[in-house]
């Protein structure tokens, strides 16, 4: 799952067989991305690449464009300029449901829970792409649909246990507390079996213990070979679990690198201190 090939090996492979190089290329490539809102550039000429199977964090002061970037990558917004390549293919302008089919999944800073359903059904919606989605099969309740639905139900329960929601398996989503709903969104996103999981402030509003549990959960997700992209304000968490950090300010790239490099970067320090002053 995780690519263990050395850079030298990758070069040779790239020369020998371009098709293989395609597969070992970065999972996400953002090129000269800009997004304008009524004359204001929320994201300006942003370029970066994200490797597979890592935990990458996007940091920056409030209003730096982190959530806008998430919305651009997941297709909720369309770029004003530039393009986004996911798994080697141009995805700019595709609607979110098509990106989901290509292996992208996300959670939301402001919870987007299906409060009109049970917790388990919320996770089962995450399984949507793997099930019989047709209406006729549904109206007549064809056996194949029933079988796959049953499997999905079991898998959803399993995922809920995995993210620590065992006691909410029979609950209505509307009856669950905030911290549990954050995890429910993660379970729901995982049900899609994504290649890349984007988490928008998964620890926001959580206490220290809960936040550490989310830490562990994110590491376990990454260990399964899923690339995790994180927007988070909890710097302790970011520095502790990220392999790679992208720092934004005013919609531009401020710095990029390992946690140690980014936290030592004078521009990053200035941006954070400046924003606090």
């Amino acid at each position: 799952m995780i690519n263990a090939a050395s850079p030298a090996m990758m070069d040779t492979v790239a020369q020998a067989a371009p098709a293989v190089a395609e597969r070992t290329s970065p999972l996400l490539r953002v090129e000269n991305l800009s997004r304008e809102f009524g004359g204001v550039l929320a994201i300006q000429d942003l370029s970066f690449t994200l490797p597979k199977g890592r935990i990458v964090s996007i940091i920056g002061p409030n209003g730096a464009g982190k959530t806008t970037l998430f919305n651009l990558i997941t297709g909720v917004y369309t770029p004003t300029y530039g393009r986004i390549l996911f798994d080697g293919r141009d995805i700019s302008g595709l609607p979110p449901f098509k990106l989901a089919a290509r292996g992208m999944s996300r959670t939301f800073q402001n919870l987007q829970i299906f409060f009109n359903m049970s917790a388990l059904e919320n996770v089962m919606v995450g399984r949507h792409l793997h099930l019989d989605r047709g209406v006729l099969a549904a109206l007549f309740r064809l056996p194949r649909l029933v079988r796959k639905d049953k499997e999905a139900r079991e898998l959803a329960a399993e995922l809920m246990r995995e993210v620590g929601l065992s006691k909410y398996i029979d609950a209505q989503a509307s009856a669950m507390p905030y911290g549990a709903l954050k995890r429910l969104e993660i379970a729901r996103a995982l049900a899609a079996e994504p290649k890349m999981l984007l988490l928008d402030e998964p620890a926001a509003g959580l206490n220290g213990t809960e936040s550490r549990e989310i830490d562990e959960l994110i590491k376990r997700i990454a260990a399964r070979g899923i690339t995790v992209v994180l927007v988070e304000h909890d710097m302790k968490m970011v520095m502790g679990i990220s392999d790679h950090i992208l720092a934004l300010n005013y919609g531009r790239k401020l710095a990029e690198g390992t946690p140690a490099e980014v936290s030592a970067n004078p521009d990053v320090i200035a941006a954070y201190l400046g924003s606090m002053a």
């Binding site: 829970i113 359903m117 549904a138």
Partner: protein, 312 residues
């Protein structure tokens, strides 16, 4: 799991089977049949309003189109009734599909306005195309016959409507508890999240709009045959409002609620005739009080009282 899922259906089947024992004359049977027609339309409309969270103030238009398709094709052109019914359903399905894509991009009040407009246009066309539809005076409809069997009399129609209602409820319950049904409910719950999980939200909205329109059309065809006469008032704005009221009154996102809402609001005006001139006022007061004290509608509120935390 599945026994619980179909429990309301079993209750409904028993009620439908026993009801004729109490309905001793044709007047009472007639009310039951009309209630059944309304219930079928409401089960479809509830999929759109209650589950997918969209609104339509134009469904009486689709009902009217189905009714007139049967009336015109059978009575004027001599088509077999079943073929006319299916042709009407296909035509309404295509029309609903054509208008759904642009209008279902609208939300809330704007969607209500757009669907209202469609209903009104259909109603006006039925009223003014006098040569085809007979205009505001309406037109007679031949009785329903298929393969030598002729549907005639209240008793026969009662069983036809009861059977179709059970099929409609069964199919609706199936749909709700399927990936497509969860997708519809997800559109209602959090559309952006549904979209990022791979749900083609626009596609499902169109689908449920078409499905509910086709159900209204088929019911319209059958009710035209049953009544033997059809006027454009079957398609007018007040009928659309009446249908939406039945869904909301019975309880949104509850298939059983749609049925109960349709039955109660069909029967209630009959009972309130005792109030004579004040009938409409009393009905209005009952509706207001129900919504104030049971904002979730009749069935969800009552079932929450009986079995807390369970969903019907």
């Amino acid at each position: 799991m599945s026994s619980h899922r179909l429990a309301p259906l079993a209750v409904l089947a028993v009620v439908a089977a026993l009801l004729p024992l109490a309905l001793t004359n044709n007047f009472l049977l007639n009310i039951a049949i009309v209630a059944g027609f309304n219930a079928i339309v409401c089960v479809g409309l509830n999929l759109l309003i209650g589950f997918a969270g969209q609104i339509s103030l134009g469904h009486a238009g689709f009902f009217g189109l189905g009714a007139y398709a049967s009336a015109v094709l059978v009575s004027t052109y001599g088509w077999p009734p079943l073929a006319a019914l299916l042709a009407g359903a296909v035509a309404v399905g295509l029309l609903a599909f054509a208008v759904a894509k642009p209008i279902l991009r609208l939300k809330g009040h704007y969607l209500a306005m757009a669907t209202l407009g469609i209903g009104i246009i259909i109603s006006i066309v039925l009223k003014t195309e006098t040569k085809i539809t007979g205009g505001p005076d309406g037109m007679p409809v031949d009785s329903f016959a298929v393969l030598g069997f002729q549907a005639y009399g209240e008793k026969v129609w009662y069983w036809i409507v009861a059977g179709l209602l059970l099929v409609a409820v069964w199919a609706a319950l199936n749909l709700i508890d399927s990936p497509a049904g969860r997708a519809l409910r997800a559109v209602h719950g959090a559309e952006v999240a549904a979209e990022t999980l791979g749900v083609d939200t626009a596609g499902y909205k169109v689908m449920v709009f078409v499905l509910s329109a086709v159900m209204a059309s088929i019911t319209g065809s059958l009710s035209a045959h049953y009544l033997g006469f059809i006027t454009p008032s079957a398609s007018d704005f007040f009928r659309s409002i009446e249908l939406v009221t039945m869904v909301v009154f019975g309880g949104m996102a509850s298939t059983f609620g749609a049925v109960v809402g349709a039955v109660v609001l069909t029967v209630l005006p009959q009972l309130l005739t005792a109030f004579q001139d004040y009938e409409a006022m009393v009905l209005g007061a009952i509706l207001m009080l129900t919504m104030v004290f049971m904002p979730k509608g009749l069935v969800p509120t009552l079932s929450a009282l009986i079995a807390p935390r369970r969903r019907v």
